[in-house]
Amino acid sequence: MENPQSEQEIKRRTRVYVAVSSLLLIVTTGYVLWAIRPLLLPVIFGALLAYISQPVVAWLIRRGFPKLLSVLLFVTFFITLLFYAFVFVKNQIPDRNEQYELRTVAMYQLNERYQGLIETSQQNTTLAFGLRFLMQETHPLVDNINLFLALAPEEQMVFEARMDSLQHQHPRYARMLGYHFQNQDLLFYTSGGLLTEAILIGQRSINSREETGPDQTGGSTILLIFGFFSTWLIMPVIFFFLLLDEGKFRRKLISLVPNIFFETALTSFHNVDKAIGSYLRGTVIESLAVFTCFLVFLPLIGFNFTVSVLIGVVAAVANIIPFIGPTVGIILVIAYSLIIDEISSVLPFIHTGNLVYFAALTAILIQVADNTLLKPMILGGATDLHPILVFFVVVAGGVMFGFWGVLFSIPVIVIIKVSATTIHQRLLLYRIIRL
Protein backbone atom coordinates (compact mmCIF):
# COMPACT_ATOMS: atom_id res chain seq x y z
CA MET A 1 0.00 0.00 0.00
CA GLU A 2 1.22 3.53 -0.91
CA ASN A 3 2.36 5.83 1.91
CA PRO A 4 -0.27 8.66 1.94
CA GLN A 5 2.43 11.21 2.89
CA SER A 6 4.89 10.18 0.16
CA GLU A 7 6.01 12.86 -2.29
CA GLN A 8 4.43 10.95 -5.18
CA GLU A 9 1.05 10.70 -3.42
CA ILE A 10 1.04 14.41 -2.51
CA LYS A 11 1.85 15.27 -6.14
CA ARG A 12 -0.97 13.02 -7.36
CA ARG A 13 -3.46 14.61 -4.94
CA THR A 14 -2.29 18.10 -5.95
CA ARG A 15 -2.84 17.25 -9.62
CA VAL A 16 -6.38 16.00 -8.91
CA TYR A 17 -7.09 19.05 -6.75
CA VAL A 18 -5.85 21.48 -9.43
CA ALA A 19 -7.76 19.67 -12.21
CA VAL A 20 -11.06 19.56 -10.28
CA SER A 21 -10.85 23.15 -9.02
CA SER A 22 -9.85 24.42 -12.51
CA LEU A 23 -12.81 22.65 -14.03
CA LEU A 24 -15.14 24.05 -11.37
CA LEU A 25 -13.75 27.57 -11.88
CA ILE A 26 -14.16 27.36 -15.68
CA VAL A 27 -17.70 25.95 -15.48
CA THR A 28 -18.82 28.48 -12.83
CA THR A 29 -17.27 31.44 -14.67
CA GLY A 30 -18.81 30.25 -17.94
CA TYR A 31 -22.23 29.85 -16.34
CA VAL A 32 -22.12 33.25 -14.61
CA LEU A 33 -20.99 35.00 -17.81
CA TRP A 34 -23.76 33.29 -19.77
CA ALA A 35 -26.38 34.13 -17.15
CA ILE A 36 -25.42 37.78 -17.00
CA ARG A 37 -24.79 38.14 -20.74
CA PRO A 38 -27.20 41.10 -21.15
CA LEU A 39 -25.19 42.92 -18.50
CA LEU A 40 -21.88 42.38 -20.24
CA LEU A 41 -22.30 45.22 -22.72
CA PRO A 42 -23.01 47.89 -20.06
CA VAL A 43 -20.11 46.51 -18.01
CA ILE A 44 -17.75 46.71 -21.01
CA PHE A 45 -18.98 50.24 -21.76
CA GLY A 46 -18.47 51.30 -18.13
CA ALA A 47 -14.98 49.81 -18.09
CA LEU A 48 -14.09 51.45 -21.41
CA LEU A 49 -15.35 54.83 -20.21
CA ALA A 50 -13.32 54.54 -17.01
CA TYR A 51 -10.27 53.56 -19.01
CA ILE A 52 -10.65 56.42 -21.47
CA SER A 53 -11.33 58.98 -18.72
CA GLN A 54 -8.40 58.10 -16.46
CA PRO A 55 -6.12 60.93 -17.71
CA VAL A 56 -8.82 63.52 -16.91
CA VAL A 57 -9.11 62.26 -13.33
CA ALA A 58 -5.30 62.15 -13.04
CA TRP A 59 -5.23 65.77 -14.25
CA LEU A 60 -7.77 66.80 -11.59
CA ILE A 61 -5.70 65.08 -8.90
CA ARG A 62 -2.56 66.87 -10.11
CA ARG A 63 -4.51 70.12 -9.74
CA GLY A 64 -4.91 69.33 -6.03
CA PHE A 65 -8.39 67.75 -5.94
CA PRO A 66 -8.72 64.72 -3.62
CA LYS A 67 -9.10 61.43 -5.48
CA LEU A 68 -12.68 60.68 -4.41
CA LEU A 69 -13.83 64.22 -5.17
CA SER A 70 -12.13 64.13 -8.58
CA VAL A 71 -13.84 60.88 -9.50
CA LEU A 72 -17.22 62.06 -8.17
CA LEU A 73 -16.93 65.36 -10.01
CA PHE A 74 -15.93 63.75 -13.27
CA VAL A 75 -18.52 60.94 -13.15
CA THR A 76 -21.31 63.43 -12.31
CA PHE A 77 -20.19 65.75 -15.09
CA PHE A 78 -19.88 62.93 -17.59
CA ILE A 79 -23.21 61.27 -16.79
CA THR A 80 -24.99 64.67 -16.97
CA LEU A 81 -23.32 65.38 -20.31
CA LEU A 82 -24.25 61.91 -21.60
CA PHE A 83 -27.84 62.38 -20.43
CA TYR A 84 -28.21 65.74 -22.19
CA ALA A 85 -26.51 64.43 -25.34
CA PHE A 86 -28.92 61.49 -25.34
CA VAL A 87 -31.96 63.76 -24.83
CA PHE A 88 -30.69 66.10 -27.56
CA VAL A 89 -30.18 63.30 -30.09
CA LYS A 90 -33.51 61.71 -29.10
CA ASN A 91 -35.30 65.02 -29.75
CA GLN A 92 -33.71 65.20 -33.17
CA ILE A 93 -35.11 61.82 -34.20
CA PRO A 94 -38.16 62.46 -36.42
CA ASP A 95 -41.55 61.74 -34.82
CA ARG A 96 -44.17 59.51 -36.46
CA ASN A 97 -45.59 62.24 -38.73
CA GLU A 98 -42.14 63.44 -39.79
CA GLN A 99 -41.18 59.85 -40.57
CA TYR A 100 -44.23 59.46 -42.82
CA GLU A 101 -43.27 62.64 -44.67
CA LEU A 102 -39.67 61.56 -45.00
CA ARG A 103 -40.65 58.12 -46.31
CA THR A 104 -43.07 59.62 -48.82
CA VAL A 105 -40.55 62.13 -50.16
CA ALA A 106 -37.76 59.54 -50.18
CA MET A 107 -39.91 57.06 -52.11
CA TYR A 108 -41.00 59.68 -54.65
CA GLN A 109 -37.50 61.06 -55.24
CA LEU A 110 -35.94 57.61 -55.45
CA ASN A 111 -38.39 56.46 -58.13
CA GLU A 112 -38.19 59.73 -60.04
CA ARG A 113 -34.43 59.38 -60.32
CA TYR A 114 -34.58 55.64 -60.96
CA GLN A 115 -37.11 56.09 -63.76
CA GLY A 116 -34.77 58.73 -65.23
CA LEU A 117 -32.05 56.09 -65.23
CA ILE A 118 -34.40 53.56 -66.88
CA GLU A 119 -35.10 56.05 -69.66
CA THR A 120 -31.36 56.56 -70.16
CA SER A 121 -30.86 52.79 -70.31
CA GLN A 122 -33.32 52.49 -73.20
CA GLN A 123 -31.14 54.62 -75.49
CA ASN A 124 -28.83 52.97 -77.99
CA THR A 125 -25.45 53.72 -76.39
CA THR A 126 -22.74 51.70 -74.68
CA LEU A 127 -23.60 53.36 -71.37
CA ALA A 128 -27.24 52.39 -71.84
CA PHE A 129 -26.24 48.78 -72.50
CA GLY A 130 -24.18 48.75 -69.29
CA LEU A 131 -27.05 50.30 -67.37
CA ARG A 132 -29.53 47.72 -68.69
CA PHE A 133 -27.22 44.96 -67.53
CA LEU A 134 -26.78 46.57 -64.11
CA MET A 135 -30.49 47.16 -63.63
CA GLN A 136 -31.22 43.43 -63.67
CA GLU A 137 -29.49 43.48 -60.29
CA THR A 138 -30.84 46.81 -59.00
CA HIS A 139 -34.56 46.24 -59.82
CA PRO A 140 -35.07 43.84 -56.86
CA LEU A 141 -33.12 46.18 -54.59
CA VAL A 142 -35.24 49.21 -55.52
CA ASP A 143 -38.43 47.12 -55.17
CA ASN A 144 -37.35 46.14 -51.67
CA ILE A 145 -36.55 49.74 -50.75
CA ASN A 146 -39.99 50.78 -52.04
CA LEU A 147 -41.67 48.11 -49.96
CA PHE A 148 -39.70 49.28 -46.96
CA LEU A 149 -40.57 52.96 -47.50
CA ALA A 150 -44.20 52.52 -48.52
CA LEU A 151 -46.79 53.52 -45.93
CA ALA A 152 -49.03 50.78 -44.57
CA PRO A 153 -52.82 51.29 -45.12
CA GLU A 154 -53.40 52.67 -41.60
CA GLU A 155 -50.34 54.95 -41.92
CA GLN A 156 -51.67 56.19 -45.26
CA MET A 157 -54.97 57.19 -43.62
CA VAL A 158 -53.18 59.17 -40.89
CA PHE A 159 -50.86 60.79 -43.43
CA GLU A 160 -53.64 61.75 -45.87
CA ALA A 161 -55.82 63.23 -43.11
CA ARG A 162 -52.90 65.31 -41.83
CA MET A 163 -51.84 66.55 -45.25
CA ASP A 164 -55.46 67.40 -46.09
CA SER A 165 -55.75 69.61 -43.05
CA LEU A 166 -52.34 71.25 -43.60
CA GLN A 167 -52.20 71.72 -47.37
CA HIS A 168 -53.79 75.16 -47.24
CA GLN A 169 -51.23 76.43 -44.74
CA HIS A 170 -48.10 75.71 -46.77
CA PRO A 171 -47.61 74.54 -50.37
CA ARG A 172 -45.11 71.96 -49.09
CA TYR A 173 -47.94 69.80 -47.72
CA ALA A 174 -49.89 69.90 -50.98
CA ARG A 175 -46.71 68.83 -52.76
CA MET A 176 -46.28 66.03 -50.25
CA LEU A 177 -49.82 64.81 -50.91
CA GLY A 178 -49.07 64.84 -54.62
CA TYR A 179 -45.96 62.69 -54.03
CA HIS A 180 -48.07 60.30 -51.97
CA PHE A 181 -50.64 59.79 -54.73
CA GLN A 182 -47.92 59.30 -57.32
CA ASN A 183 -46.27 56.73 -55.05
CA GLN A 184 -49.53 54.77 -55.05
CA ASP A 185 -49.31 54.27 -58.81
CA LEU A 186 -45.86 52.72 -58.59
CA LEU A 187 -45.29 49.31 -60.14
CA PHE A 188 -42.79 46.64 -59.20
CA TYR A 189 -39.74 46.89 -61.46
CA THR A 190 -39.28 43.13 -61.32
CA SER A 191 -42.81 41.80 -61.84
CA GLY A 192 -44.80 44.83 -63.05
CA GLY A 193 -47.46 44.31 -60.34
CA LEU A 194 -48.98 47.20 -58.42
CA LEU A 195 -47.01 48.07 -55.29
CA THR A 196 -50.10 49.29 -53.41
CA GLU A 197 -51.75 45.87 -53.74
CA ALA A 198 -48.72 44.18 -52.23
CA ILE A 199 -48.81 46.65 -49.35
CA LEU A 200 -52.50 45.92 -48.80
CA ILE A 201 -51.77 42.23 -48.25
CA GLY A 202 -48.90 43.12 -45.93
CA GLN A 203 -45.93 42.16 -48.15
CA ARG A 204 -42.73 43.93 -47.00
CA SER A 205 -40.14 42.11 -49.09
CA ILE A 206 -40.04 40.72 -52.63
CA ASN A 207 -38.01 37.71 -51.50
CA SER A 208 -40.99 36.87 -49.27
CA ARG A 209 -38.71 35.56 -46.58
CA GLU A 210 -40.74 35.45 -43.41
CA GLU A 211 -39.71 38.21 -41.11
CA THR A 212 -38.65 36.88 -37.77
CA GLY A 213 -39.68 38.64 -34.63
CA PRO A 214 -37.23 39.88 -32.04
CA ASP A 215 -35.06 37.19 -30.57
CA GLN A 216 -37.04 35.65 -27.78
CA THR A 217 -34.26 34.23 -25.71
CA GLY A 218 -35.18 32.70 -22.40
CA GLY A 219 -35.02 35.00 -19.39
CA SER A 220 -32.10 34.31 -17.09
CA THR A 221 -32.68 33.97 -13.37
CA ILE A 222 -30.15 36.61 -12.37
CA LEU A 223 -31.67 39.09 -14.77
CA LEU A 224 -35.04 38.72 -13.08
CA ILE A 225 -33.51 40.43 -10.04
CA PHE A 226 -32.72 43.38 -12.24
CA GLY A 227 -36.13 43.15 -13.87
CA PHE A 228 -37.33 46.48 -12.53
CA PHE A 229 -34.21 48.35 -13.48
CA SER A 230 -32.54 48.99 -16.75
CA THR A 231 -29.47 46.82 -17.23
CA TRP A 232 -27.65 49.98 -18.22
CA LEU A 233 -27.79 51.30 -14.66
CA ILE A 234 -24.78 49.12 -13.99
CA MET A 235 -22.65 51.16 -16.39
CA PRO A 236 -22.11 54.27 -14.19
CA VAL A 237 -21.44 51.99 -11.19
CA ILE A 238 -18.66 50.17 -13.04
CA PHE A 239 -17.43 53.49 -14.41
CA PHE A 240 -17.22 54.99 -10.90
CA PHE A 241 -15.54 52.08 -9.15
CA LEU A 242 -12.99 51.44 -11.87
CA LEU A 243 -11.98 55.10 -11.83
CA LEU A 244 -11.51 54.81 -8.09
CA ASP A 245 -9.54 51.58 -8.39
CA GLU A 246 -5.99 53.09 -8.43
CA GLY A 247 -4.49 50.11 -10.23
CA LYS A 248 -5.47 47.59 -7.52
CA PHE A 249 -7.05 45.30 -10.07
CA ARG A 250 -3.93 45.39 -12.24
CA ARG A 251 -1.72 44.65 -9.19
CA LYS A 252 -3.91 41.68 -8.30
CA LEU A 253 -3.58 40.34 -11.84
CA ILE A 254 0.19 40.82 -11.83
CA SER A 255 0.38 38.95 -8.52
CA LEU A 256 -0.75 35.82 -10.40
CA VAL A 257 2.26 35.97 -12.72
CA PRO A 258 5.20 33.68 -11.84
CA ASN A 259 8.40 35.46 -10.71
CA ILE A 260 10.26 34.67 -13.92
CA PHE A 261 7.72 36.67 -15.94
CA PHE A 262 7.19 39.43 -13.35
CA GLU A 263 9.12 42.30 -15.00
CA THR A 264 8.11 41.13 -18.48
CA ALA A 265 4.47 41.21 -17.38
CA LEU A 266 4.86 44.65 -15.79
CA THR A 267 6.41 46.25 -18.86
CA SER A 268 4.10 44.45 -21.29
CA PHE A 269 1.08 45.54 -19.28
CA HIS A 270 2.39 49.10 -19.16
CA ASN A 271 3.18 49.31 -22.88
CA VAL A 272 -0.06 47.65 -23.95
CA ASP A 273 -1.99 49.93 -21.60
CA LYS A 274 -0.28 52.99 -23.08
CA ALA A 275 -0.83 51.93 -26.68
CA ILE A 276 -4.45 50.86 -26.21
CA GLY A 277 -5.24 53.91 -24.08
CA SER A 278 -3.91 56.24 -26.79
CA TYR A 279 -5.79 54.31 -29.46
CA LEU A 280 -9.14 54.34 -27.62
CA ARG A 281 -8.86 57.96 -26.50
CA GLY A 282 -7.67 58.93 -29.99
CA THR A 283 -10.62 57.13 -31.56
CA VAL A 284 -13.07 58.99 -29.31
CA ILE A 285 -11.44 62.37 -30.08
CA GLU A 286 -11.34 61.57 -33.79
CA SER A 287 -15.02 60.53 -33.85
CA LEU A 288 -15.96 63.73 -32.01
CA ALA A 289 -14.01 65.74 -34.59
CA VAL A 290 -15.79 63.95 -37.46
CA PHE A 291 -19.17 64.57 -35.77
CA THR A 292 -18.34 68.29 -35.37
CA CYS A 293 -17.31 68.56 -39.04
CA PHE A 294 -20.61 67.03 -40.20
CA LEU A 295 -22.52 69.27 -37.81
CA VAL A 296 -20.82 72.41 -39.13
CA PHE A 297 -20.58 71.74 -42.87
CA LEU A 298 -23.82 69.91 -43.68
CA PRO A 299 -26.12 72.78 -42.55
CA LEU A 300 -23.86 75.11 -44.57
CA ILE A 301 -24.69 73.33 -47.83
CA GLY A 302 -28.38 73.26 -46.95
CA PHE A 303 -29.00 70.14 -44.87
CA ASN A 304 -31.56 70.37 -42.12
CA PHE A 305 -29.84 70.68 -38.69
CA THR A 306 -31.69 67.65 -37.29
CA VAL A 307 -30.54 65.48 -40.18
CA SER A 308 -26.99 66.81 -39.84
CA VAL A 309 -26.96 65.75 -36.17
CA LEU A 310 -28.24 62.27 -36.99
CA ILE A 311 -25.85 61.77 -39.92
CA GLY A 312 -23.01 63.15 -37.76
CA VAL A 313 -23.74 60.66 -34.96
CA VAL A 314 -23.93 57.67 -37.32
CA ALA A 315 -20.80 58.76 -39.22
CA ALA A 316 -18.88 59.35 -35.98
CA VAL A 317 -19.79 55.90 -34.62
CA ALA A 318 -19.09 54.18 -37.95
CA ASN A 319 -15.76 56.00 -38.13
CA ILE A 320 -14.39 53.53 -35.57
CA ILE A 321 -14.21 50.99 -38.41
CA PRO A 322 -11.41 51.98 -40.82
CA PHE A 323 -12.06 51.93 -44.60
CA ILE A 324 -15.66 50.75 -44.19
CA GLY A 325 -16.85 53.29 -41.61
CA PRO A 326 -16.05 56.48 -43.54
CA THR A 327 -18.05 55.25 -46.54
CA VAL A 328 -21.13 54.99 -44.31
CA GLY A 329 -21.04 58.76 -43.75
CA ILE A 330 -20.54 59.44 -47.46
CA ILE A 331 -23.37 57.08 -48.50
CA LEU A 332 -25.76 58.60 -45.94
CA VAL A 333 -25.01 62.15 -47.09
CA ILE A 334 -25.42 61.24 -50.77
CA ALA A 335 -28.62 59.26 -50.10
CA TYR A 336 -30.19 62.11 -48.17
CA SER A 337 -29.19 64.72 -50.75
CA LEU A 338 -30.89 62.56 -53.41
CA ILE A 339 -34.24 62.38 -51.62
CA ILE A 340 -34.45 65.93 -50.24
CA ASP A 341 -36.90 68.17 -52.13
CA GLU A 342 -36.16 71.54 -50.56
CA ILE A 343 -33.03 73.07 -49.02
CA SER A 344 -32.03 76.29 -47.32
CA SER A 345 -28.34 76.71 -48.04
CA VAL A 346 -26.41 79.81 -47.01
CA LEU A 347 -24.46 79.39 -50.25
CA PRO A 348 -26.66 80.83 -53.03
CA PHE A 349 -25.31 78.62 -55.83
CA ILE A 350 -26.44 75.38 -54.14
CA HIS A 351 -29.94 74.13 -55.00
CA THR A 352 -31.70 70.74 -54.93
CA GLY A 353 -30.48 69.97 -58.45
CA ASN A 354 -26.77 70.16 -57.65
CA LEU A 355 -26.92 69.44 -53.91
CA VAL A 356 -25.80 65.84 -54.36
CA TYR A 357 -22.43 66.93 -55.84
CA PHE A 358 -21.73 69.41 -53.04
CA ALA A 359 -22.92 66.94 -50.42
CA ALA A 360 -20.69 64.18 -51.79
CA LEU A 361 -17.77 66.61 -52.02
CA THR A 362 -18.30 67.77 -48.42
CA ALA A 363 -18.52 64.23 -47.04
CA ILE A 364 -15.47 63.11 -49.03
CA LEU A 365 -13.46 66.18 -47.96
CA ILE A 366 -14.33 65.52 -44.30
CA GLN A 367 -13.11 61.94 -44.66
CA VAL A 368 -9.97 63.00 -46.54
CA ALA A 369 -9.19 65.56 -43.83
CA ASP A 370 -9.84 62.88 -41.21
CA ASN A 371 -7.53 60.36 -42.91
CA THR A 372 -4.71 62.75 -43.81
CA LEU A 373 -4.72 65.10 -40.81
CA LEU A 374 -6.67 63.82 -37.82
CA LYS A 375 -5.86 60.10 -37.93
CA PRO A 376 -2.07 60.39 -38.29
CA MET A 377 -1.99 63.19 -35.70
CA ILE A 378 -4.21 61.50 -33.11
CA LEU A 379 -3.80 57.77 -33.68
CA GLY A 380 -0.36 57.42 -35.28
CA GLY A 381 0.21 53.93 -36.65
CA ALA A 382 -1.97 52.06 -34.18
CA THR A 383 -4.53 51.15 -36.81
CA ASP A 384 -2.08 50.02 -39.47
CA LEU A 385 -4.13 47.02 -40.49
CA HIS A 386 -4.34 45.57 -43.97
CA PRO A 387 -7.64 46.46 -45.69
CA ILE A 388 -8.40 42.77 -46.34
CA LEU A 389 -7.86 42.00 -42.66
CA VAL A 390 -10.15 44.89 -41.69
CA PHE A 391 -12.85 43.63 -44.03
CA PHE A 392 -12.53 40.04 -42.83
CA VAL A 393 -12.52 41.03 -39.15
CA VAL A 394 -15.57 43.30 -39.52
CA VAL A 395 -17.54 40.62 -41.37
CA ALA A 396 -16.51 37.95 -38.85
CA GLY A 397 -17.47 40.28 -35.96
CA GLY A 398 -20.86 40.87 -37.58
CA VAL A 399 -21.50 37.17 -38.16
CA MET A 400 -20.57 36.27 -34.60
CA PHE A 401 -21.97 39.17 -32.55
CA GLY A 402 -24.18 41.25 -34.86
CA PHE A 403 -24.08 45.05 -34.69
CA TRP A 404 -21.80 45.22 -31.65
CA GLY A 405 -19.48 42.73 -33.32
CA VAL A 406 -19.15 45.03 -36.33
CA LEU A 407 -18.54 48.06 -34.12
CA PHE A 408 -16.04 46.54 -31.70
CA SER A 409 -14.21 44.13 -34.02
CA ILE A 410 -11.52 46.66 -35.01
CA PRO A 411 -10.79 48.00 -31.49
CA VAL A 412 -10.55 44.37 -30.31
CA ILE A 413 -8.20 43.38 -33.14
CA VAL A 414 -6.04 46.47 -32.49
CA ILE A 415 -5.85 45.51 -28.80
CA ILE A 416 -4.87 41.94 -29.72
CA LYS A 417 -2.26 43.18 -32.23
CA VAL A 418 -0.66 45.65 -29.80
CA SER A 419 -0.68 43.11 -26.94
CA ALA A 420 0.82 40.28 -29.02
CA THR A 421 3.56 42.49 -30.49
CA THR A 422 4.53 43.98 -27.12
CA ILE A 423 4.54 40.66 -25.25
CA HIS A 424 6.57 39.01 -28.03
CA GLN A 425 9.18 41.81 -27.97
CA ARG A 426 9.43 41.72 -24.18
CA LEU A 427 9.84 37.93 -24.08
CA LEU A 428 12.76 38.24 -26.51
CA LEU A 429 14.29 41.18 -24.63
CA TYR A 430 14.17 39.38 -21.27
CA ARG A 431 15.60 36.27 -22.95
CA ILE A 432 12.65 34.19 -21.84
CA ILE A 433 12.37 32.91 -25.41
CA ARG A 434 14.91 32.85 -28.25
CA LEU A 435 13.96 32.73 -31.94
Binding site: T14, V18, R62, E246, K252, L253, S255, L256, E263, L266
Partner: protein
Protein backbone atom coordinates in the same frame (compact mmCIF):
# COMPACT_ATOMS: atom_id res chain seq x y z
CA UNK B 1 0.52 25.57 -10.81
CA UNK B 2 0.81 25.71 -7.03
CA UNK B 3 1.92 29.37 -6.78
CA UNK B 4 -0.86 30.26 -9.20
CA UNK B 5 -3.50 28.78 -6.90
CA UNK B 6 -2.03 30.27 -3.77
CA UNK B 7 -1.87 33.65 -5.56
CA UNK B 8 -5.46 33.29 -6.73
CA UNK B 9 -6.41 33.49 -3.06
CA UNK B 10 -4.84 36.95 -2.99
CA UNK B 11 -6.94 38.00 -5.97
CA UNK B 12 -10.15 37.11 -4.20
CA UNK B 13 -9.20 38.33 -0.72
CA UNK B 14 -9.59 42.01 0.09
CA UNK B 15 -7.06 41.90 2.95
CA UNK B 16 -5.13 45.17 3.16
CA UNK B 17 -1.36 45.26 3.14
CA UNK B 18 0.46 44.79 6.48
CA UNK B 19 3.68 46.31 5.23
CA UNK B 20 3.15 49.82 6.56
CA UNK B 21 5.28 49.43 9.72
CA UNK B 22 8.02 47.88 7.71
CA UNK B 23 8.06 50.62 5.06
CA UNK B 24 8.68 53.22 7.77
CA UNK B 25 12.19 51.80 8.28
CA UNK B 26 13.16 51.35 4.65
CA UNK B 27 16.11 53.62 3.89
CA UNK B 28 14.48 55.07 0.76
CA UNK B 29 11.26 56.04 2.55
CA UNK B 30 12.51 57.36 5.90
CA UNK B 31 11.73 61.00 5.00
CA UNK B 32 8.08 60.25 4.20
CA UNK B 33 5.11 60.98 6.43
CA UNK B 34 2.58 58.24 7.24
CA UNK B 35 0.18 59.54 4.57
CA UNK B 36 2.95 59.65 1.99
CA UNK B 37 4.09 56.12 2.88
CA UNK B 38 0.55 54.88 2.31
CA UNK B 39 0.58 56.39 -1.17
CA UNK B 40 3.90 54.70 -1.95
CA UNK B 41 2.62 51.41 -0.58
CA UNK B 42 -0.13 51.45 -3.21
CA UNK B 43 2.55 51.19 -5.89
CA UNK B 44 4.13 48.07 -4.45
CA UNK B 45 3.94 44.52 -5.74
CA UNK B 46 4.69 41.94 -3.06
CA UNK B 47 6.65 38.97 -4.46
CA UNK B 48 7.81 35.78 -2.79
CA UNK B 49 10.90 33.84 -3.84
CA UNK B 50 12.18 30.39 -2.98
CA UNK B 51 15.82 29.98 -1.89
CA UNK B 52 18.13 30.00 -4.91
CA UNK B 53 15.65 31.83 -7.17
CA UNK B 54 16.79 34.77 -9.29
CA UNK B 55 14.98 38.10 -8.76
CA UNK B 56 16.59 39.51 -11.90
CA UNK B 57 19.44 38.63 -14.20
CA UNK B 58 22.45 40.63 -15.33
CA UNK B 59 21.86 42.14 -18.79
CA UNK B 60 18.07 42.26 -18.55
CA UNK B 61 16.39 45.67 -18.91
CA UNK B 62 15.72 47.16 -15.46
CA UNK B 63 11.99 47.64 -15.10
CA UNK B 64 11.56 47.72 -11.32
CA UNK B 65 13.42 48.17 -8.05
CA UNK B 66 12.95 45.94 -5.04
CA UNK B 67 12.81 46.52 -1.30
CA UNK B 68 13.84 43.37 0.54
CA UNK B 69 11.05 42.57 2.99
CA UNK B 70 12.50 39.35 4.42
CA UNK B 71 15.28 36.91 3.67
CA UNK B 72 18.81 37.34 2.42
CA UNK B 73 19.57 38.32 -1.20
CA UNK B 74 22.97 38.03 -2.87
CA UNK B 75 24.13 40.31 -5.65
CA UNK B 76 26.22 38.18 -7.97
CA UNK B 77 27.73 38.17 -11.42
CA UNK B 78 26.96 35.13 -13.56
CA UNK B 79 29.42 32.27 -13.51
CA UNK B 80 29.86 28.78 -12.15
CA UNK B 81 29.77 29.35 -9.25
CA UNK B 82 28.41 32.92 -9.29
CA UNK B 83 30.81 35.60 -7.96
CA UNK B 84 29.41 37.28 -4.85
CA UNK B 85 29.46 41.08 -4.95
CA UNK B 86 27.27 41.96 -1.96
CA UNK B 87 24.68 40.63 0.44
CA UNK B 88 21.47 42.57 0.93
CA UNK B 89 19.34 42.42 4.07
CA UNK B 90 15.69 43.29 4.85
CA UNK B 91 14.98 47.02 4.58
CA UNK B 92 17.58 47.52 1.86
CA UNK B 93 16.93 48.21 -1.78
CA UNK B 94 18.18 46.47 -4.93
CA UNK B 95 17.92 47.41 -8.62
CA UNK B 96 17.22 51.02 -7.67
CA UNK B 97 19.02 52.35 -10.74
CA UNK B 98 16.00 51.13 -12.73
CA UNK B 99 14.06 54.20 -11.66
CA UNK B 100 16.74 56.45 -13.11
CA UNK B 101 17.17 54.86 -16.52
CA UNK B 102 16.51 51.68 -18.47
CA UNK B 103 20.10 50.47 -18.86
CA UNK B 104 20.54 46.71 -18.44
CA UNK B 105 21.06 45.28 -14.96
CA UNK B 106 24.74 45.37 -13.97
CA UNK B 107 24.51 42.21 -11.84
CA UNK B 108 22.09 39.47 -10.93
CA UNK B 109 20.09 39.17 -7.68
CA UNK B 110 19.85 35.68 -6.20
CA UNK B 111 18.00 34.71 -3.03
CA UNK B 112 20.05 32.89 -0.43
CA UNK B 113 16.94 31.79 1.46
CA UNK B 114 13.16 32.14 1.17
CA UNK B 115 12.66 35.89 0.58
CA UNK B 116 9.89 38.42 0.16
CA UNK B 117 10.33 41.63 -1.80
CA UNK B 118 8.24 44.71 -2.49
CA UNK B 119 8.73 45.84 -6.07
CA UNK B 120 8.00 49.23 -7.57
CA UNK B 121 7.66 49.41 -11.33
CA UNK B 122 9.47 52.22 -13.15
CA UNK B 123 6.39 53.14 -15.25
CA UNK B 124 4.27 53.47 -12.12
CA UNK B 125 6.95 55.54 -10.40
CA UNK B 126 7.21 57.87 -13.41
CA UNK B 127 3.44 58.45 -13.31
CA UNK B 128 3.64 58.86 -9.51
CA UNK B 129 6.29 61.54 -9.99
CA UNK B 130 3.79 63.60 -11.99
CA UNK B 131 0.92 63.21 -9.52
CA UNK B 132 3.02 63.36 -6.31
CA UNK B 133 6.16 65.37 -7.10
CA UNK B 134 6.91 66.18 -3.43
CA UNK B 135 6.99 62.52 -2.37
CA UNK B 136 9.00 61.58 -5.46
CA UNK B 137 11.53 64.34 -4.68
CA UNK B 138 12.00 62.95 -1.14
CA UNK B 139 12.55 59.44 -2.51
CA UNK B 140 15.02 60.70 -5.13
CA UNK B 141 16.94 62.60 -2.43
CA UNK B 142 17.22 59.42 -0.34
CA UNK B 143 18.22 57.47 -3.43
CA UNK B 144 21.01 59.98 -4.11
CA UNK B 145 22.23 59.49 -0.51
CA UNK B 146 22.12 55.68 -0.87
CA UNK B 147 24.05 55.79 -4.14
CA UNK B 148 26.51 58.31 -2.65
CA UNK B 149 27.09 56.02 0.35
CA UNK B 150 27.68 53.07 -1.94
CA UNK B 151 30.18 55.11 -3.94
CA UNK B 152 31.98 56.09 -0.75
CA UNK B 153 32.06 52.45 0.35
CA UNK B 154 33.40 51.36 -3.04
CA UNK B 155 36.10 54.08 -2.93
CA UNK B 156 37.10 53.03 0.59
CA UNK B 157 37.29 49.40 -0.48
CA UNK B 158 39.44 50.28 -3.50
CA UNK B 159 41.74 52.40 -1.33
CA UNK B 160 42.06 49.53 1.17
CA UNK B 161 42.92 47.10 -1.62
CA UNK B 162 45.41 49.53 -3.12
CA UNK B 163 47.05 50.01 0.30
CA UNK B 164 47.34 46.22 0.75
CA UNK B 165 49.18 45.78 -2.57
CA UNK B 166 51.64 48.74 -2.86
CA UNK B 167 54.19 46.63 -4.70
CA UNK B 168 51.83 45.92 -7.60
CA UNK B 169 51.34 49.63 -8.29
CA UNK B 170 53.14 50.87 -11.43
CA UNK B 171 56.22 52.97 -10.79
Amino acid sequence: MKPFWSDLGKLISSKTSQEEDFIKNVQLFTDLTRRERLKVERLMHVREYQAGEYIFHKGQPGAAFYVIRSGLVRIVTPGEPPILLAEVNPGEVIGELAILDETPRSASALTAEHATTMAIFKGDFDAFMLSEPVIAAKIYRRLAIVIGNRLKATNAMLQKQAAKQPETRPA
